[in-house]
Symmetry: C3
Subunit: 185 residues, 3 copies
């Protein structure tokens, strides 16, 4: 067996496509810290307006709790009446598309970025996340890039998505596997 | 098969019973941010006094580290010589009863709230949590509402309770299962 | 069966060996809050200089993102071109030795401290962590004290180490088990 190759982070070059002017990016950085990551309550209506100002598409009645961290609002789309819970981290280096009536509970993480661990250069990878209508991402769960959570699927507390979630199905574990059907009476 | 029903968060009405006056609730909100969530060290004796002032029952010698988040102190009971570690989140919309000599390690979460995913209205659900004497909830573990952790049970790091924990038993995973007996020599 | 023994945290005495003067410890406490835990960007070169000032060995090109929490810099060694991601918590009560080209992703936790749950006195335990060259600890993963992650091993998102990680091997779950070989092309 030949000697194993090694990664070399010294030659790593980020290939994140920011998708916004430097001015917008830096402005958002401060707005995010002041009004979103802040533990103080800020009216959801004000936060919706700020997100739209920075290029997000945000529907009616979206609720955004304190201590939320959003990377790039211009890569964020949220439908009507969805909820972003306390301490949620939307690390959207790629597009994150959230449907209507979606609930993101406390401390959950939408993680679009990754790296190619098979490359010496540890290339940056990123893939979008789609949460269809009625999805519930429970407290501290993690959705990985490239995942589609189909209509009304549920990822239970502290679970990690391990592929797409089928509609009306409840997933648990790391990687999360289907444990039950969701029936709405 | 008939068309599946959908949740409608637009008609959601919170049914949380706050259990305190508006004045007390708002005052605690600021006290929690200033003296509990704050990463700066505040004397445990001062924190115990503040918790009691807001209606918590707190025993002797309780240690409370920085960056702790407590929802409603008037729904919190802690016995003697228990520890609340750095970054612990007690999200007690229902009663949380913590016995004597209980250790809550860094970043663990006591999560009393949930939702009825079988209802179109996504009804708010909540249930109390009881941690009996000598229990240890390890770093970043999550205890779900309705759980009783019996005397001297242990929930290991980053695990999620999946029902009550038997006394003197060690649990691991998501959902956590019994992996060992705890014997104190 | 005789009555089970109980823990008694009232007689607990911490045995952490701080390894620095009281002055250095208190100074670091504030520097950590102001320049490391702070969500504002601080130049990595400034953070490297601060870490070295407080006794850490930090190699060339080490990148340190915002909201990082480091316990004792004098017990930290980092090689060249390694990355400390946003929200990483290095709770190094014992030595943490990080090699070259190591990536610690968002929110991961290096947890050196523990307790002896078989003792009435709940004795403090701690053990060092070693991350060899090319290791990747993914987002929100937890490495427990006493763990060596061998060259180019990977601990996937939200997983918890359950013993040493073999070189060029990918681990997942709680406890994490080997799921794949890492081959660098």
């Amino acid at each position: 067996m030949e000697a194993s190759k090694q990664v070399n982070l010294a030659i790593y070059r980020t290939t994140i496509r920011i998708g916004a002017s430097r001015f917008r990016q830096v402005s958002w950085y401060f707005v995010n810290i002041l009004f979103f990551k802040n533990p103080l309550v800020v009216l959801s209506s004000a936060k919706r307006a700020l997100l739209r100002l920075f290029g997000a598409k945000v529907g009616a009645g979206v609720v955004i709790k304190p201590s939320v961290n959003i990377k790039f609002p211009w890569k964020l789309r949220i439908g009507d009446h969805s909820w972003i819970g306390e301490g949620v981290w939307i690390d959207n280096l790629s597009d994150v598309v959230i449907g209507n009536h979606v609930a993101l509970s406390q401390g959950c993480l939408l993680l679009t970025g990754s790296h190619d661990h098979r490359k010496e250069t540890f290339d940056f990878l990123t893939a979008p996340i789609t949460l269809e209508d009625g999805v519930w991402i429970c407290a501290r769960a993690t959705v990985l890039g490239g995942t589609t959570c189909r209509s009304h699927s549920i990822l239970t507390a502290n679970s990690v998505s391990g592929g797409d979630l089928d509609p009306y199905t409840i997933y648990k574990g790391n990687p999360a596997t289907a444990i039950k059907t969701r029936t709405i009476l």
